[in-house]
């Protein structure tokens, strides 16, 4: 049985709750064991790196040290931001001895030791490479016919690290969706930035970036956008009325996490997957088909 140490991240405790719910439901169905890292802390995200580089790396490294203490060799996270920050921290500690010594020094102060024995992996990587598409195919109970997916990877899933997919035109989510019986459309903006936290600080710019992504998905004939990261999902899913009003073009399109789509195909109840938490679920064409009475029908 596959077993990993799990780093949830702050997002999934609040606005990204559905990400956690659907990941746990799907992972359980696939028979993978996740053990949450005890007393984990915020990875620091992009905001921390803007204030103090050393503290940002040390903060992320604390999680790595905690996982090592629990005897982990592989840890995984569903959030692309956390994945990047934890991985970046690991790379910098190992590549720059000066950084490594300082980080190790501050961790020692808190009674922790960093040895570098744990590998940071993205949840998507676990799904497509460790569990494998064949196993996923076997679990499909309701093939997703008529679903045309625009797979949105976001920026930090494949940049700057390319541990598990191509960097310029990644296709793992596409392959995953095809295994679920859905179609995927050609989507050139699949790794273009959604604006991230700029949605809070500079909405006039971030909304324009999201508008471009939504419009392109629609233009390519997609009827669903599938995303990975809680922040991308929040930006794509939550601001559609504002964006439609501002740019006078109907770009509204349902959005969900790839784990939610997997869950639907596995015949899991939409409520367990947290689909009711998505703002675009109310008008989603899949809703009728997958309301509890319709499952498996």
């Amino acid at each position: 049985m596959l077993k990993y140490h799990y780093f949830p991240g702050c997002s999934v405790l609040g606005t990204g709750r559905a990400c956690e719910e659907s990941t746990q439901a799907v992972i359980k169905e696939l028979g993978v064991e996740l053990k949450e890292i005890d007393d984990w802390n915020c990875c620091g995200a992009t905001a921390y790196m803007s204030v103090d580089e050393h503290n940002a790396l040390a903060l992320a490294a604390r999680n790595l040290a905690l996982a090592e203490k629990e005897g982990a060799t592989q840890m995984t996270t569903p959030c692309s931001g956390c994945y990047l920050t934890l991985n970046k921290s690991k790379h910098y500690i190992e590549e720059y001895p000066a950084v490594g010594n300082r980080v190790k020094g501050s961790l020692r102060k808190a009674g922790l030791e960093y040895k570098g024995s744990v590998r940071v992996r993205h949840m998507l990587d676990i799904m497509v490479n460790d569990v494998g598409l064949d196993t996923i195919k076997k679990h499909v109970k309701v093939p997703l016919k008529g679903v045309k997916v625009a797979a949105y990877y976001g920026c930090q899933t494949v940049r700057p690290f390319k541990d598990f997919d191509q960097q310029h035109f990644p296709n793992k989510i596409d392959e995953l969706c095809q295994a679920l019986g859905a179609e995927t459309v050609y989507f050139p903006l699949k790794t273009r930035c959604c604006g991230g936290s700029q949605m809070g600080t500079l909405p006039q710019v971030a909304q324009r970036l999201v508008f471009a992504i939504l419009r392109e998905a629609k233009r390519q004939g997609a009827n669903l956008i599938v995303s990975v990261c809680p922040l991308c999902h929040f930006n794509l899913d939550s601001y559609q009325p504002e964006i439609v009003g501002r740019f006078h073009e109907d770009v509204s399109i349902p959005c969900m996490y790839y784990t939610q789509l997997m869950g639907l195909a596995f015949g899991i109840d939409p409520k367990t997957l947290g689909l009711q938490r998505n703002l675009t679920w109310d008008k989603c064409f899949l809703r009728k088909q997958f309301t509890p009475a319709g499952v498996g029908a």
């Binding site: 020094g105 808190a110 500079l202 939550s238």
Partner: protein
Amino acid sequence: MPLFSLEKKGTILSKGGPPDIMDVTTRHIKYQADCDPSFPAAIKKIPGCEKLDSCIQCGTCSGVCPLSIYMDMTPRRVMNLVRYGFKKEVMASNTIWLCSSCYACTVECPREIKVTDIMYALKQMAIKERAYPRRFAMVVLANEFYKMVRARGRVNEIHLVTRLNLLTNPLKMLSMARLGIELIRRGRFSLRPESVRDPRRIREIMEYTENGNGKEARSKC
């Protein structure tokens, strides 16, 4: 229309309006001696920024940047200004604040310069030296995030966004009412302050370098 209240004060060539051609005494250009060579030196010391000098000014970073069209200086230009020491100009541009860390430039750079890391280094420097307008949203967000993690070890997004709006533009809360109600209705509006078991452990880690520890380790390497 300017994006920020931050105006193009520091641009090098023009000061707005056509130059007075008979004004032969005012210098409109900058000499190399006016530049600050300690600026690129400080940046290059930061991990990830050491390859700055190998930039060939090809402009790939600006081409792939999804935000460069909103910037007053493109990333390519910032790279060149940094390495020749135009500190004031770089610090006054909105480029470093628009960067949303998508790493497209870092991945595409043919000289393997980690442009995103240089942007981070510039942000850190600007925050340390308070070289940003008052109540500037990006800095407020970064600082509030920093404080929250320092105090609790974890972040609650709702608290963070509320603090951001209160400190920058309280009226903006009104425009976010729809979203707030939706989030409450869907159980995503969590007000519970998240925390690690003992936040003091987090502070210990941070104070280690703030008190000047670990510097010897740095100079040794």
